[in-house]
Structures are given as C-alpha cells and as structure tokens.
C-alpha cells in the first residue's frame, strides 16, 4: 500500500543496537516488540494504548512511532524517519481519547495512559479533510506523471480520502524550476511537505532548497536559478511523495508495475550500496536504493543511480581478434579455440567480481605464474595484505556513528565514497563528531579542522609534536581513515606507516576497549578488497619490472600499463564489458558481463561480502567472466575444477572463507603485529602535498568505464562546469 513508507525503521538508537545482532543487518523491518521483557522492571517506560492495546514505550517516543511499534501505520507525507520532524502536512492527525483536538502523531510525544484511536470517526474525518485540501490544488496529472503507481498521494487518497469531490474553484499553478540534468521538477504537483528541503539541509549538507512565499503562493525551490549540486541529489526523487521531483533520465520510460525488481549491489565505488535494479524487457529502466542500515541506509549516490544508461553504450558484445592489418575484427567463441597460450600475467581492474578473480588466479597458478596484479596500489611493505585489518575500513560504516574524533588523511570522502561521507555528516550533525583532515582542502558537507596538506603535518602528528596530538590523545573513540588515493603515491608505504603509528598512539592514549578499531582504509574500487583477500599483488610494479609477452587484462581500464611499458611484440588479451582504455590496446577482446548481468560477489571497503544478481542477460555474445576463464583453462590444458557458481563459491571459501559470509563483516585483528612490521619500513615521505584525485563535483561523475559511457553523467559534468542552462534538454512537459 504505502510503498515508500514500508521501510520505516524505528529511530530509537537503543532499538537499532539491540537488533544489530539479528536480521537487522539484512535490513528487515523492525516491528517486533522487544520492550515487553522487562516492562515493569524498567521504571522509565511509559504505558500507552493504541486502539485499546497496551504498549510500553520509552518516554519521548512520538505517537506515530508508538503506533508503528504495534504495527499500525499512520498515513503521513512530511514525516520521514531519517529527517527532522516538520509536522506541516497534517495527514498524521489522530484522535487521542478525551483530548479536545486531534494531535499530529509525528510530532507529539506520548504521555502516560493515552489511548490513541487510529481509526475513530474524528481521525477518519481529519484524514479526509486533509486529503481534500491537498488535492484541491493538485493538478490532474496522474496519466502523465511518473510517480503514478508508486505515489503516496494516490495510495493515501484511495485508503483515507473521501470518495467524492466538492471542488469547483480554480487550481493554482507554479513554474517549473531547473535544478539540474538529473531531477525533473514539476512544482505544480508539489504539496509542500518540505522533505526535499530538510534532506538537502540535513543529509546532503547543501542548503540550496528552501521555501519562498506563504500560503497559496508558497513555492519550493532554489529561489535563484541554481543547480542542486550535490552527489546525493537523486535521493530527493525517492523522498518526494508526489510527482513534483522525478528522475529526468527515467521520465516517461516505464511504470512501476511493469518492472521487475532485482536486488543487487552497486559496484561503482567501494561502499557496496544495496540497490534494486528495475528492469523491463531485458533492459535496465532505473536503479533504486535498498534499505541497509549498516551500509547505505536508504540513500545512493547520483553516480550509482543514474549511470545505468552507460550499460547500454560502448558494450563489447562479440569476441574480437586483431587481424593482420591491425584492425579488430569480430569473431565467434568457437574461433578462439586456436588461441593457446601458457605464459601470461594478469591485471585485474576495479569492477571484477570475486568469482572471476579466483578463476583467473587458479588459472595462472596452474600455469606456474604468480604475477596477478590489481591496478590499485597498496603498500606491500610490512605486513602488506597478509592481515586483513591492514586494508579494511575496520571501524565499519556504523562505527562512525559511535566515534568522537575522526582524522581523514589524503582523501575526499565526499566524492570517493559519498555514502560514507553521508554517515560522517550524520554523526557530525547528531553525535558531535569532530573531524580533522590532512590533505588538500576540499568542501566536505560538514565543517572540519583542516590541519594542512603536506606530509610534514602527517609526520609531526605521528611523532607527537603537532598540536593536534593533544586533541587526538583526549579522544575517547578515535578513528583514522586513510584514503587509498594517498597510498597510490611512491611514498605510500611511508604514509601508511605514519598513519599506522598515529592510529596505534591514539588507541593507546584513548584507553578504549579492545574491540574498537582505529585504523581504516577507504578504498575507491569495488574489487580491490576481494582481490587482496584472494592474494593478488596490489599495483602493477611486478609487471612493469618484468614485462611479459602475453598480458591478460581483466576489466583493467585505469590506464596503468600501456603498450609502451611492454615489449614490442607483446600480446594483450582484454576481458571486460565496455570498450574503454583496455579494449583499445588489446589484440583479443573477450566480452564479459557488467554487474547487473552476473551473479558476482563483491567485497566492500569494510570487508562485507555482498552478491549481485542477474537482472538482465548480457548483450550479444557476452558471458559471465568466470565462465570465460573456465573455458580458457580448458584450452590451456589446465581445466579448472568447477562448473557452477556454487562450486566457484566453494573454491572462494577455500581461499578466504569470509568471501562467502554474505552481508556480514568479519572482525580482523593483529593490529599490533601489523604495526610492528610497519615500523621496520624504511621509506621517507615525499614533500609533495596529499591531494586526492577528485576535488570538485565535476570529478565525481565519470570515474569508471560504465559512468564514462553514460550520457547522463556527461550531462552532469557539463552542467557542473557550465551551469544547468548549458545542458540541452528536450522540452517536454
């Protein structure tokens, strides 16, 4: 019924922590009554009645939350459990027995002994009245409105509205606002719930949206012609209960009841946001967020949401071989049988699933080669990738909400991991988190203490001579996050050593308990953690030092190795899904599947293994990556011992058992040992300042083969550099 509201989680922090061990981490709806056990014992619980049924709640709980606990959903438009309470839609009015007026359930805290009547005559009359007022100025756009079928106004007017209209006046109309190439605004439909205003201000940190005017002439917008410039801007589309804010790329393409929804994981960054891929007729229509309290809550970044049109362009759909004249010519899978090679090295890119990674590793190992590299560098000096705690976001994304001081080193989390940044902002806003940064000054959506951008600052903090060390020593639950872009530098090992020292020192001085982890690494690509778990060598140095005759590129498009680095007559095989940098320099192209077309395991930067599922079939002759490698293994004479996905996953378990523990994070320890080994690292920091590669929003949109192929992302970059008016949109209603 109320589709958008079905994912309400109780906001009480105690409740969410109590449920943390159970299915909560999988994002289930919490309607279990977990306060019954010590009802009389806990003296601060308040007894309230909902339609005569008694329920015990903590004082400060609102009427709406109390009803939800019992399982009664009160209709609302402006209330959202992740935003502050506004109380302006009045749809949640319920009658309290013996009270003179109905109360706004979303804002009124319960008092002892109240009997909340959610379906009485007065409540029903109030709802009908509010609905009548909302519909009085609402245009008759349902047939042409994209929100039809998933519209809160439609659903609630059917359930709670009057059956006949008495409207004979004229309706008001409002001009549409241009807030960018992603969000389509038809402000006539706006019911002024102000959810978008509160989201922009609280969650996104961009105070662009606001209300102008009062009463009938109230308008929501940016007042001046301004773009809603945020990496989380697409989430207002989900928040808006009516069709005022809709997705521009998705406009007029599908109705929600026609689409099939597949639960999957996003791989365009290392956060691993949970998504729902909506498809119709074998084509991805749109991507929506899926609730996961531990990773992305209910939000996804713009790149995740809108780059799905890149999945339909620049696709590799047929195997290709370079002929005598140097042109790539399409061929068939059967014709590739003549390719037999036994001496090759491999590089894995940023969007490869763990199944393909393990198949490639097994293949190469059986051919007596150990040179499997990832494009992303990680310092191997010291413990390197032996200990998982060295390369994971150990505090987890939920841990950010508990920490009181965060030190960011050489990263711009706003554009490298927007949902991680959203969580930091949430903690900064509600839990008084203090943030300090060593690195280039960037606009994070919250204020922070900028300590400097030179490695000198880092050295001083590690040595204990910087004034910030006093602040760090007093923190009770400190967290240090180093970005993987800082570790790509030549002095990456020295930077990691400094960060490890800072983490160890602050841990010792804070006196926090054993279970709290201070050192964290924020990755930028989805396949890095899985590759490191499996034993890949990070960085292409091994290949540069010893260039092979045959190089296998598995989705490697970051331009780390070019033809210039390899011997003149070297042979390059590229397996991937887009015709990007890697395919251009290849001699043989093997078309693989993108993340929406395969059952793949991806491990996010916290170390959480998650699975993508097949939403559409891969185009043309493309196949799942591990299957191609299995076929190559047969041609090479070293047939791999697995034929189904389950068998591959059993092999994954043999290599690293955490890869098949889906949706959970495995604790990793031995920080002391890792630190001891890093102390022996003998590298000095370079004087170059720590500058992350993504500095402003225009660097955010096109960072991987899929987003580089997306027209929507190209429009975003153009709008970010030249302004919203510069983007050429077809003029439609």
């Amino acid at each position: 019924m109320l589709v958008h509201l079905a994912t309400n989680m109780l906001r009480l922090p105690a409740v969410s922590r109590a449920l943390a061990g159970a299915a909560h981490s999988k994002g289930s709806i919490a309607t279990t009554n977990n306060v019954q056990t010590s009802a009389r014992a806990s003296s601060n619980m308040v007894e309230v009645f909902v339609d005569g049924k008694p329920v015990m709640v903590e004082p400060g709980t609102t009427v709406l939350q109390t009803c939800e606990k019992v399982g009664v959903q009160i209709p609302r438009f402006c209330y959202h459990d992740r935003l502050s309470v506004a109380g302006n839609c009045r749809m949640c009015l319920v009658e309290i027995e013996k009270a003179p007026k109905p109360v706004a359930a979303c804002a009124m805290p319960v008092m002892k002994g109240w009997n909340i009547l959610t379906n009485s005559e007065k409540t029903r009359k109030a709802r009908e009245g509010v609905m009548e007022f909302l519909l009085s100025n609402h245009p008759l756009d349902c047939p042409i409105c994209d929100q039809g079928g998933e519209c809160d106004l439609q659903d609630q007017s059917m359930m709670f509205g009057a059956d006949r209209s008495r409207f004979t006046e004229g309706k008001r109309a409002v001009e549409d606002k241009n807030i960018g190439p992603l969000i389509k605004t038809i402000m006539t439909r706006c019911i002024h719930c102000t959810r978008c205003v509160r989201f922009a201000s609280e969650v996104a940190g961009v105070e662009d949206l606001g209300t102008t005017g009062r009463g009938n002439s109230m308008q929501i917008g940016t007042y001046v012609e301004k773009m809603f410039m945020s990496e989380l801007s697409g989430n207002v589309i989900d928040l808006c209960p009516v069709g005022a804010l809709t997705s521009k790329p998705y406009a007029f393409t599908a109705r929600p009841w026609e689409t099939r929804k597949t639960e999957s994981i996003d791989v365009l960054d290392a956060v691993g946001s949970n998504i729902v891929v909506s498809t119709r007729g074998g084509e991805v229509m749109r991507i929506l967020p899926r609730l996961n309290e531990d990773v992305n809550e209910e939000w996804i970044s713009d790149k995740t949401r809108f780059s799905y049109d890149g999945l339909k362009r620049q696709r590799l759909i047929q195997p290709m071989v370079k002929d005598a004249s140097g042109q790539l010519v399409a061929t068939t899978w059967e014709d590739l049988c003549h390719l037999k090679t036994t001496d090759f090295r491999a590089i894995a890119g940023g969007m490869v699933d763990a199944e393909a990674l393990v198949a490639l590793k097994d293949l190469l190992n059986r051919l007596d080669s150990d040179t499997l590299c990832t494009e992303e560098i990680f310092p191997m000096a010291g413990a390197g990738t032996d200990l998982r705690s060295n390369y994971l976001l150990n505090s987890r994304i939920t841990g950010i909400e508990e920490c009181d001081l965060m030190l960011l080193v050489g990263t711009n989390p706003r554009y490298e991991a927007p949902l991680f940044n959203a969580r930091v902002r949430k903690s900064w806003l509600h839990n008084e988190l203090q943030v300090a940064m060593v690195g280039h000054k960037v606009d994070l959506s919250y204020s922070y203490n900028h300590l400097g951008e030179t490695t000198q600052v880092l050295q001083e903090i590690a040595a204990g001579t910087h004034p910030f060390c006093k602040v760090l020593a007093q923190a009770k639950k400190p967290v240090v996050v180093v970005g993987s872009s800082a570790l790509q530098r030549e002095d990456g090992a020295a930077i990691f050593k400094a960060v490890s020292t800072i983490a160890q020192n602050s841990r010792a001085s804070s006196g926090v308990e054993e279970g709290w982890k201070v050192l964290n690494v924020l990755h930028r690509v989805a396949s890095q953690v899985a590759a490191l778990d499996l034993g890949y060598k990070p960085g292409v140095d091994a290949i540069r030092k010893n260039p092979p005759k045959v190089l296998f590129l598995l989705g490697a498009d970051a331009d780390c190795i070019t033809r210039a680095d390899l011997p003149k007559d070297s042979f390059i095989v590229y397996q991937g899904h887009h015709g990007d940098v890697g395919a251009v320099m290849a001699d043989v192209i093997l078309p693989g599947a993108a993340y929406t077309e395969k059952n793949g395991t991806y491990v996010n930067t916290e170390g959480r293994a998650q699975k993508t599922r097949v939403a559409v079939t891969a185009p043309g002759m493309a196949r799942e990556d591990w299957k191609i490698l299995r076929a190559i293994s047969e041609l090479a004479g070293v047939t791999l011992p697995y034929d189904t996905v389950d068998e591959v996953r059993r092999r994954l378990e043999e290599v690293s058992p955490n890869l098949v523990r889906y949706d959970d994070v495995e604790e990793s320890n031995y920080f002391k040992q890792a630190h001891e080994l890093s102390k022996a690292v003998n590298q000095s920091l370079l004087a170059a300042p720590l500058v992350p590669p993504q500095l402003t929003v225009k660097d955010f949109y096109m960072t991987d083969p899929i987003s580089r192929a997306s027209q929507t992302m190209a429009k975003c970059v153009k709008a970010a550099t030249e302004g919203a008016a510069a983007v050429d949109e077809p003029s439609i209603c």
Binding site: D362, A381, G384, E654, P657, E667, N669, Q673
Partner: protein, 101 residues
C-alpha cells in the same frame, strides 16, 4: 619454546617450495586458540625473515582452523589445525615448508 625454534629453523626458506601460505582461523573459538597464539607470537618473526612471501591470514567466525599451502602449478595441500597449540601449528607449518609438491 618449541614454536620459536621451529620458526627460526624455517628462517627465510618459506619460498623454497611454497608459493603461498593461507591460515584460516576463527577469531574466538577454542579450537583456533593455537593458531591465534602462533600468529600473535611468531608471525612478525616469520614475516621479517620472509618479507616478500604471502602469508595470508584470513579470520572468519566459526571456521575450522586450517593451514593451506600452495605449491607450484596450483597444487594445494591443507592441514587441519583443529585444537592444536602454537607449537603444533609451527610443526605443521614446518612440514608443509619441507614437503615436496
């Protein structure tokens, strides 16, 4: 302790026959106490003597502790470390180091 002597005996010879060593253990169960002690006490020595050699330590809750050894041409051999103490773990490591694939 016997384990320290064994580790000293292995010295820098991990890469003699082996290509990779993987240690699977549980973070809290009693059966993995031996492997946990071994890592805590001897991993640093082992790694300092073999800085380029991958000794992958993969903790996962509820797994049976196992030592996986990978030799050339993808041949793998696993040794169960269930309920062993640190000395026995060291002996198991020594046996896979010296084993010919």
């Amino acid at each position: 302790m016997a384990a320290a002597a064994v580790v000293r005996g292995i010295g820098s010879n991990l890469s003699k026959n082996l290509r990779e060593v993987r240690l699977h253990l549980c973070q809290i169960s009693a059966a993995s106490q031996g492997p946990r002690d071994f890592i805590e006490q001897h991993y640093v020595t082992l790694k300092t003597a073999n800085p380029e050699f991958p000794i992958l330590i993969r903790e996962c809750s509820g797994v049976q502790p196992v030592l996986w050894a990978r030799y050339g041409f993808g041949k793998e051999h696993s040794v169960s470390l269930d309920n062993m103490n640190a000395d026995q773990v060291a002996k198991a490591l020594e046996s896979v180091v010296n084993a010919k694939p």
